[in-house]
Amino acid sequence: MSKSMSNVDVVDLAELELREVNARLQQHNGSEQGGHFRVINPNGAHAVACGLNAAVIVEIDGHTGYYAAGMNQAAEVTIKGNAGPGVAENMMSGTVRVTGDASQYAGASGHGGLLVIEGSASSRCGISMKGIDIVVKGNIGHMSAFMAQAGRLVVLGDVGADFGDSLYEARLFVRGSVKSLGADCIEKDMQDEHRDELAEILALAQVDANPADFKRYGSARKLYNFNIDNVGAY
């Protein structure tokens, strides 16, 4: 996928309006065509690189504000800095990587794809996740994975209070400590299949950690109407 720097289209948020920048990044949406963009001077702007729907590479040089890389599909977005609230919200596929920290509700409602946060994320990380994989190298805040339905959340650091409250079928892996578990979230056995699954996600995220060091958490399945015969449907 990588291209030489000469093919990188540099888009300057100090020069262009946000809508012009996003239109430029979205120009290949719906097509097979790739592209490589570098967004400079984001200066905490909102909704940078949202609504991408093509296998383009986008590098953002600096911190972003609310809702960066939202609704991402197929694109590979890297934020070289911190991300504000709601980064990679409702992602469908592709990859979003944050080299710094992420604010509240990172990866909320995501249906697919991979979100990697190299720093820490704050509260409500992965809230209502529906199939996205999220890997956080640092810590995450309280109420994370609230009502998480599907997908995997992997945390190398520590987790805040009320982890996985009202959890559905998302799978949670934590290497550090968990301050407290939310309603219906329990620690589960870590078996070979889980270690294999975790190793696969860590490799995809290019994060170096030993799956044997993690604990697994999941739903006790007492809070919602769940019929084990239907598990394949989730």
Partner: protein, 303 residues
């Protein structure tokens, strides 16, 4: 919504630049609060122990401030001086704050006292933050620290009185993004137990009054905020200033945004990072999101 911003200088040589550095921070938060804006700036401390300064507001831009001053001087045997800018004026004198307040309020019911202290001055007005900053010539002001608010009104009217910041005690000021749910009960408790009267129906003023009560009991700003976590119920991010202190606190749920940045020269807080991007050296600053229910404080009164 609402936007809050604060800037605390650690290097005195930057003090003449305070207003210039802070103005773009306030204006950047216009989207979060286009209804009104206000600042509490800590500048030109009065020299004498007995001297106080008051920021006054009158809705009439042509209000005769000199006449008020003459009358106060006659009535209370003072030698007060006054300096007005737009709808506000700063009165400096050696006098008893309670007697002054009574005399000022008796003179004209439209007159409002925005702040009393030895360092603080408050300027606030309905209108876009850029217009408010220009009206009070914010960019030309100096000082040690400043906190500001851009308001999107939810629970009370868009007026100067309803604008933030609120100051209740000497030199104490608080700006707030969020809403408090037990402010009515607290307001009556503060009046009953501590004799502290709030001037408006606003929830934020109650939080400021609460901190005033705690400081009067001898708590440091940091301790007062620590105790507020148990006593104040609601959603909030606070930025607080005292004569020589600056602090930030978010409630335990922490859904109201906040970001802090610090260099060797300054500490800055804002609702969003974009309000900090014009500060010198921000690219190399330590930037972090304040943890829930954790007090961050700077300055002499902090510890």
């Amino acid at each position: 919504m609402c936007g809050i911003v604060g800037l605390y200088l650690k290097k005195t040589s930057l003090e003449p630049e305070l207003g210039r550095l802070f103005t773009p921070m306030l204006i950047e938060m216009s989207d979060r609060g286009p209804d009104s804006a206000g600042i509490a700036i800590y500048q030109d401390p009065v020299e004498n122990e007995e001297t106080i300064k008051l920021t006054l507001f009158h809705p009439d831009d042509n209000f005769d401030w000199d006449r008020l001053t003459e009358l106060l001087n006659d009535e209370l045997q003072l030698s007060a001086t006054i300096d007005d800018v737009a709808s506000h004026a700063v009165l400096i004198c050696d006098g008893d704050p309670d007697l002054l307040t009574a005399a000022i309020e008796a003179y004209d019911p439209d007159l409002q006292i925005m702040s009393i202290g030895r360092v603080i001055e408050i300027y606030k007005e309905a209108g876009l933050p850029a217009a408010v900053a220009e009206r009070f010539e914010l960019a030309a002001m100096g000082g040690s620290h400043v906190i500001g608010h851009t308001r999107m009104a939810t629970e009370s009217a868009v007026t100067t009185a309803g604008s933030h910041p609120f100051s209740t005690g000497l030199d104490l000021c608080l700006v707030h993004n969020g809403s408090l749910s037990n402010h009515n009960w607290l307001r009556s408790e503060l009046e009953r137990r501590h004799g502290i009267t709030c001037r408006t129906e606003n929830d934020t003023e109650v939080a400021a009054a609460y901190l005033t009560a705690k400081l009067l009991e001898g708590r440091t700003l940091h301790q007062a905020l620590d105790e507020s976590i148990l006593d104040l119920d609601g959603f909030y991010t606070f930025c607080v200033g005292t004569a020589d202190g600056f602090a930030v606190l978010r409630d335990p749920i922490a859904c109201k945004p906040a970001i802090l940045a610090e260099t060797e020269d300054w500490v800055a807080m804002a609702s969003e990072y974009r309000a900090l991007t014009s500060l010198p050296g921000v690219a190399d600053a330590c930037v972090w999101e304040p943890e829930p229910a954790t007090v961050y404080s700077w300055g002499k009164e902090a510890a």
